[in-house]
Point group: C2
Chain length 126, copies 2
């Protein structure tokens, strides 16, 4: 979290969170779905643990629809006795491929962070 001055009107406001990984939620979703199919609302709690403390539920649903359009997941409506029906998502083989490539991208990102943190620590000890 990081607060500073609004860039247009000068008022105090909260910026977009700093240091987050772009679209990190997508491989997180795929990793969860690779363990078993689930639906949007059900994925929420697990994602809080994996992707940080807060998850935008609206964005989550939009992301899931986009991932289906991209072929990484497929969905089916599932009858629910104790509440509204659910759209259940299942990972596809393309989704598994993306999950794999995302893992190597994240490994590369991890190295960049490490290089940065090492550089910062060096600059502090001198």
């Amino acid at each position: 979290m990081f607060t500073y001055m609004c860039r247009t009107c000068g008022c105090s406001f909260r910026s977009r969170d700093f240091g987050n990984i772009e679209r990190f939620i997508e491989p997180c979703i795929l990793l969860l779905l690779s363990k078993g199919s689930s639906h949007g609302y059900g994925l929420m709690e697990d994602l809080k643990k994996h992707c940080g403390e807060k998850v935008d539920i609206g964005g989550l649903y939009r992301t899931l629809r986009r991932m289906e359009r991209d072929g990484w997941v497929k969905s089916d409506w599932e009858k629910n006795k104790s509440g509204p029906d659910r759209r259940t998502y299942t990972i596809t083989s393309e989704g598994k491929d993306f999950l794999k490539s995302a893992t190597s991208s994240l490994t590369r990102t991890d190295k960049l962070i490490h290089r940065f943190l090492e550089g910062y620590q060096k600059s502090q000890t001198v």
Copy 2:
């Protein structure tokens, strides 16, 4: 790098690199400036090493002006005999504060990546 289908017309195309850190270039710039003042064009080569292989020079200049507006750096024009004049940037105390808070954000991001990578490896070995 990651190629997939265009979301509107169906053609094959290269997406924005996946797994990038939002605004990672800003703490990288500040870390470099904390070692000594520099100018936009001069920061380029160093940033390629720290922020990944490619740096958008237009975006770099815009970022530097924004960082000055936010108070993290200040700039002065410097005469240059062998070429166009340079706008030299220097880190401020607010910039050093941000650099410190960015470091803890990135440490938190690093933990999220590690948790993800561990989870992925577990899912592969089972």
